[in-house]
C-alpha cells in the first residue's frame, strides 16, 4: 500500500491573534495534524502576494493565512486588506492552474485554540482530497523565485 | 432587564390607561374614550412626542368612530401637559391613585380660561339648553319634577276661621271642608246630653293648601276665608354648566330664550374653512365626527339633488380639529387657531406649545385610507 499523501502546508499567521491562538492550542494540548509549518508576521496586512506565489511555486500543497477577526485587528484594518488580497489571489492562482482551495484565509482569535486545530484539520482534509501540488506531481519544482511582484495598488 | 420599571398599557371599560410603575410609585395616564373626540390636540402638544393618532374608525353614515389616540407608555414623561390642554377633559394623570398636577401647581404651565355660566336670576329653568347641548351631562339641570300644581310656584297661604260666638257666620264644625280638602281637618268635641252645642276644632296645614278656595265655597256658614300670596313665580332648583364636560361650543348660549343669561367663552378663536369642491361625493366623515355639530349638510332642496354642499356654522365650531383628522382629502378643511384663552404664567414651554397649536391644520394625503 502506498504511503498516504501528507500535504505540506505553509501557515502565515499574525502575531496577535492566530499565532497566539495556535499557542493556546498547544497550552491546551489540543492535538491536530502536523502538516503545517508556520511563519509568524506581525499582521496579515504584511502578506505580500509574492509570499503565496513563492510558496506554491516551491511546491507547497497549500497556504493558510490567518489573522484577527474583522474589527479586532491589532493594527486596525490589516486583516481587511489581507482578506481582499487573498480573495484576488485565489482567482489568480486558479489562472496558474492551482485549485483555489489551496489558498485559504481564516480569522482566529487568541482565545480560539480549538478553532485553530479544527481549521488545520479541515485544511489538511481539503488538501488531501486535492492531492499534491501539481508542480510536484510533474516533478518540476523549479522556477522558484521567478514570480514577479504583483501590482496591488487597487487594494 | 430589570424587574422595574414595568410599563404597561391596559383598557378598563372605556378607559385606556398607560402606566409607568416602579416599586414605590405608579403613574397612570388614563384616556376616557367616552370623552375623547379624536381632536388630536394631545398629540400636537406632547413635549415628548409620545402620542400617536391611531387609525380612524369605520367611516359611515350612522356612526363615526373617533381615531384612537395611542400613548407610548415608555416615551411619556407623565408631565400632564396633554391633560391640561385637552379641551374635552378626556385625560387624567394620577400618581399612586392621586391626581398629579405638580406642573400646574408650580405654575410651570397655564390653563384654559373656562367661562361657562348661567345667570340663575334670569334663568327660567327651561330645558332648551339641555336639549341643544351636543354633549351629554354638560348641562346640569337640577330642577325638581313638577308633579303638583303648587310646586310650580312659591307662595304663602293663610286661612281665617270665624269662630266668633256672636256671629251668624260662625263655624259650626260641620266638617264639610275637612272632607274635601287635605289641608283641613275638623275634630269634633263629643256632644253630651248636657251640652248639645256643636263644638270642636278646625286644623289647617298651610303647606297642603294651594289657595283654591273650595273650602270657602263649600262652607255652609261662610265662616272660612282663605288668602294666598305668591312670593315667587319661578321653578325651583337651578341649571348649571359642568365645566369639565362643557365643550364651550356656545350652542346653549345661542339658543337660550332669555337674553344674556348664559355666558360662554370659546377656548380658541380662529377660523375654519372648508373647500367643499374637494369633498368626495357621499363622504360625511367630518359631519359625523364633529363633537359640536357645527358641520352639517343643508336639506335637499328638491328630491334627487346630489351635490349637497357641506356647510359649517362658525358659531358652534370650537376649532378642535377633529374634522381635519378624519377628512380623507388633502387640504380640504383648514382649521386655524389664532387665540387661545389661558390664564396663568405663559411659560416658554407654553409658548412653544401654543405655537404648535396655532399652526394651520389641514388633512394630508397620508391620512387617507381610513
Amino acid at each position: 500500500m502506498a504511503e498516504e499523501f501528507e500535504p505540506n502546508i505553509l501557515g502565515i499567521l499574525c502575531n496577535w491573534c492566530t499565532y497566539a491562538g495556535a499557542d493556546l492550542a498547544g497550552t491546551s494540548r489540543t492535538q491536530y495534524p502536523p502538516n503545517v509549518r508556520v511563519i509568524r508576521i506581525m499582521c496579515t496586512g504584511r502578506l505580500d502576494p509574492a509570499f503565496v506565489l513563492k510558496a506554491l511555486s516551491v511546491g507547497a500543497d497549500g497556504v493558510l493565512v490567518s489573522g484577527c477577526h474583522v474589527g479586532d485587528c491589532h493594527y486596525l484594518a490589516g486583516n481587511f486588506k489581507s482578506r481582499r488580497r487573498v480573495a484576488l489571489l485565489r482567482k489568480l492562482i486558479e489562472e496558474y492552474g492551482y485549485d483555489r482551495e489551496r489558498l485559504r484565509m481564516t480569522f482566529i482569535s487568541a482565545s480560539e485554540g480549538a478553532i485553530w486545530a479544527e481549521v488545520v484539520q479541515d485544511m489538511v482534509n481539503t488538501i488531501k482530497k486535492l492531492g499534491p501540488n501539481p508542480l510536484k506531481q510533474v516533478g518540476a519544482a523549479g522556477a522558484a523565485g521567478q514570480v514577479g511582484v504583483v501590482a496591488d495598488d487597487e487594494f | 432587564m430589570a424587574l422595574f420599571p414595568i410599563y404597561s398599557k391596559r383598557t378598563e371599560g372605556r378607559k385606556s390607561i398607560i402606566e409607568q410603575k416602579t416599586l414605590v410609585q405608579a403613574l397612570n395616564l388614563a384616556l376616557d374614550m367616552e370623552r375623547c373626540t379624536g381632536c388630536g390636540i394631545c398629540k400636537e402638544v406632547c413635549p415628548e412626542e409620545a402620542i400617536e393618532k391611531g387609525p380612524v374608525g369605520a367611516v359611515g353614515f350612522k356612526e363615526m368612530e373617533v381615531p384612537e389616540m395611542v400613548f407610548d407608555e415608555k416615551k411619556c414623561s407623565y408631565c400632564g401637559v396633554c391633560v391640561e390642554l385637552c379641551p374635552f377633559t378626556a385625560l387624567k394623570l394620577t400618581e399612586n391613585g392621586e391626581p398629579k398636577t405638580d406642573l400646574i401647581d408650580q405654575q410651570g404651565f397655564p390653563h384654559y380660561v373656562k367661562v361657562a355660566e348661567i345667570n340663575p336670576d334670569t334663568c327660567v329653568r327651561c330645558k332648551v339648553c339641555e336639549e341643544m347641548c351636543p354633549r351629554e351631562n354638560a348641562i346640569e339641570r337640577n330642577v325638581p319634577e313638577v308633579t303638583e300644581r303648587q310646586q310650580a310656584i312659591t307662595y304663602t297661604a293663610e286661612m281665617q276661621l270665624n269662630e266668633d260666638p256672636g256671629s251668624e257666620n260662625k263655624c259650626t264644625y260641620c266638617g264639610l271642608c275637612g272632607e274635601i280638602c287635605d289641608a283641613l281637618t275638623v275634630e269634633h268635641k263629643e256632644a253630651t246630653p248636657l251640652n248639645i252645642e256643636a263644638s270642636g276644632e278646625v286644623k289647617f296645614e298651610s303647606s297642603k293648601c294651594d289657595g283654591c278656595k273650595i273650602c270657602e265655597e263649600i262652607c255652609p256658614t261662610d265662616s272660612i276665608k282663605v288668602d294666598r300670596t305668591i312670593t315667587e313665580a319661578k321653578l325651583l332648583g337651578e341649571v348649571t354648566i359642568n365645566k369639565d364636560e362643557c365643550m364651550y361650543c356656545t350652542w346653549c348660549a345661542k339658543t337660550c330664550p332669555i337674553e344674556n343669561t348664559i355666558d360662554i367663552k370659546k377656548i380658541f378663536e380662529g377660523s375654519i374653512n372648508i373647500k367643499t369642491e374637494n369633498c368626495p361625493a357621499g363622504c360625511t366623515a367630518c359631519v359625523e365626527i364633529c363633537p359640536c355639530n357645527a358641520l352639517y349638510l343643508p336639506p335637499q332642496k328638491e328630491p334627487g339633488e346630489i351635490a349637497t354642499k357641506l356647510e359649517v356654522n362658525d358659531d358652534f365650531c370650537t376649532l378642535c380639529g377633529a374634522c381635519v383628522n378624519v377628512c380623507p382629502v388633502a387640504n380640504t378643511i383648514e382649521v386655524k387657531r389664532d387665540v387661545i384663552h389661558i390664564e396663568g404664567t405663559e411659560t416658554e414651554l407654553y409658548k412653544k406649545t401654543a405655537g404648535k397649536m396655532m399652526e394651520l391644520k389641514t388633512p394630508t394625503i397620508e391620512k387617507m385610507g381610513a
Binding site: - | L3, T22, L23, G108
Partner: protein, 659 residues
Amino acid sequence: MDEEKRIGVFICHCGTNIAGVIDVKELAEYAKTLPNVAHAQDYTYMCSTPGQAMIRDSIKEHNLNGTVVAACSPRLHEPTFRKATEEGGVNSFLFSMANIREQDTWVHMEEPEKAMEKAKDVVRMEVARASMLEPLTPKTVPVEKAALVIGAGIAGIQASLELADAGIKTYLVEKEPSIGGNMSRLDKTFPTLDCSQCILTPKMVDVERNPNIELMTYSEVEDVSGYIGNFDVTIRQKSRYVYEDKCNGCGKCQEVCPVSRPNEFDLGLMPRKAAYVPFPQAVPLKFTIDMDSCIKCDLCKGEEACGDLEAIDFDKPDELTTVKVGSIIVATGFDMYDVERKEEWGYKVFDNVVTGIEMERLISASGPTGGNIIRPSDGQKPKSVGFVLCAGSRDQDEEDGAKPYCSRVCCMYSLKHAHQLIEKIPGCVPYLFYMDIRSFGKAYEEFYYRIQNEGGKFIRGRVARITEDPITKNLTVTAEDTLLGTPVEMEVDLVVLANAVVPAESTQKVKTLLTLSNSPDGWLLEAHPKLNPMSTTTDGVFLAGMCQGPRDIPDVVAHAAAAAAAASIPIHKGSVTLEPIYAIVDQEHCGGCATCIGVCPYGATELNEVDSKLVASVNEAKCKGCGTCGSACPSGAIKMQHFTNEQIMSEIEAFAQGW
C-alpha cells in the same frame, strides 16, 4: 552581507515538554548540518540562568553572529533570549526563535515522528531567517507624565488614587453622571458586613479632592491614537445641561421637576426626576438633566429653583477634550446577566422573583424602601426566601446566553443576603439552593459557617423551575435535594436569583478603541493569565477589576492597584524603548505613487518632494510595524524591518527544502 554568517542553534528540552516527545540530541545534530550553522547544542532549560549563560558563552566561544533558540513560543521567551544574545555581544535582533513546544511537541504528542520532522523544518526555517536578519537599534521615546483611567467604579477609583498618589496626573473618565459604579449599589459587603457606601464614599470624595485627578464624569472615550508613552485620547463630555462650576448641588431643580422616570441607579425600583443625581452620595454632586425626558417646562430655571445661579442651560453642547497620556487603565466593570432568558425561573413573569442586585437595593437603607425588605407583589415582609445560586453561571446553555464560568461573587452575596434577612425579619428563613458553596476568600468559609449557625438552610440542588400561585403570588421552587436524592417542592414568599456577572456592554467599544482582545467568555484578555493578569497585548494599556474577569471587591482593589503600579512604570521611567520594527523607504526606488499613503492606518506614511521628485517616507514614531505598506508597495521600495521580503522568502525557501 559582508560578514560570514555564524549561527548558534540552542535546543531546549523544556524538561520533558519537548524532550519527552522528540529526540533533542538528534535535532541538535540535524541543526549542525544546516548552512551557516556554526554551533548547535541542547540543554534542559534554556531559559534558566545556566541556559542563558550557555548562549552568552557560546557566542564568544564560537564567534557567533546570530542565534536561534528552539524552545517555546516567542510570545513567551523572545525577550529573554534577545537579552542573552545581546549580553553575548550580538545585536539582539539577530536572534530568532523556533517554536517547537506550543506548536509542535504539545500538539503532536501522539505522533512523535512527525513532530520530529516538523521540529527539523521549523529549526531550518528559523536558521534561514536568522541568516538574513539585520542588526537594529531600538529607539527610545519620552513618556507623557499622565495616565487615563476608563471607568470609575471601585477599580477605576482605586487605580486613579494610586496613580495620583504616585504623583501622576490622572484623567478618570466615567460614562455615568457619578462615580462609584456597581459597588455604590451594594448595601453591605461580605464577609465583614461593612457598609459598602461607608467604605466607598471616602474614596469617592478623595478622588474629587485629589489635585492630581481630573475627574470627567458623564464622559466617554471617543478616540485613541498613538502608542505607549504617547497616547492621544479624545473624550466626549456629554452635556449635563448644567454648568458643573455653577451647580451647587442644592437639588431645587429636582424638587420642582414635574417629570418622573425610573432611576437607573436603583434599577427602576424608584423614580427620579428629569433633573437628577443618581444617588445622594454622588460624586460630583452635580445635577444632570435627562434631555430624553425633559419637557423644558423651565420650572428648574425659575426663581424658586436654580434662578440666580443660572447653572442650567438647555442648549449646552457636548464638549470634546483631547488629552495626552503615557498609559491607560481600562476598568469598565460588569453588567448583570439577563436572567429573564432563563424562562423556567419566571423572572419578569412572576412579581416576586428578583435578582441579587435588586435585593441589594431592597435591603439598602438608601434604597427605595429605606431598607425594609418587602416583596414586590404586595409589600409584605417575606417569611421564607429562596435563593437560586448559579443563576446563569456555570451554565453552558448558549441559547439562553448563559455563562460557563463561575461568577465568583454570587455564593457570598447570597450568604450575606441570607444573614441580612435573618437579622432584619425575625423568623424569616432563607433557603439557599446551591451546587457548591464557593467561599474561597479570607474569612469567607467562616462566614458560611456563621450563616449556617444563624439558621440559613442549604439545599444542594439546582432549581429546575419556579411556579407562582396566581392568587397569593407565592412561589413554588422545585429542585432535587441531591443529598437526599429526593425532589423537593418548596413554597416561598420571595425568590432571589443570584444572577451571573457579564462584561459591561461598554467594554466592547473600549476594546475596539484600544485594539484589545477578549477571551471567549467576553472578558478582556490579559497578557498572561497568571504572570501578567493586569497587562494587555497593547503596550501601555492595563486592565483593572471586573473587565478582565469576575472577582470580588478585595480582588478588584488589589488588581486595580497592580494595574496602577504597572501603568506607572513607564511614566516614572520617563521613556520607553520601542521595537525598531518600523518600515523604511528606499527613496531611490520609490516612484511616488502614494499607494502606501492609502493603506497606512496610522497616517505614518507621507509624500514629500526630495530633489524635485515626490517620494514617500515613513514617520517612525507613528509607524507601528504592521507592514501593510511594505506588501502593498508596487516598486518594492518599502522595507519592513525585521520582517523583510528577503527574510520571509528565505523562510519559505527553507520550508520547501523539507521534501
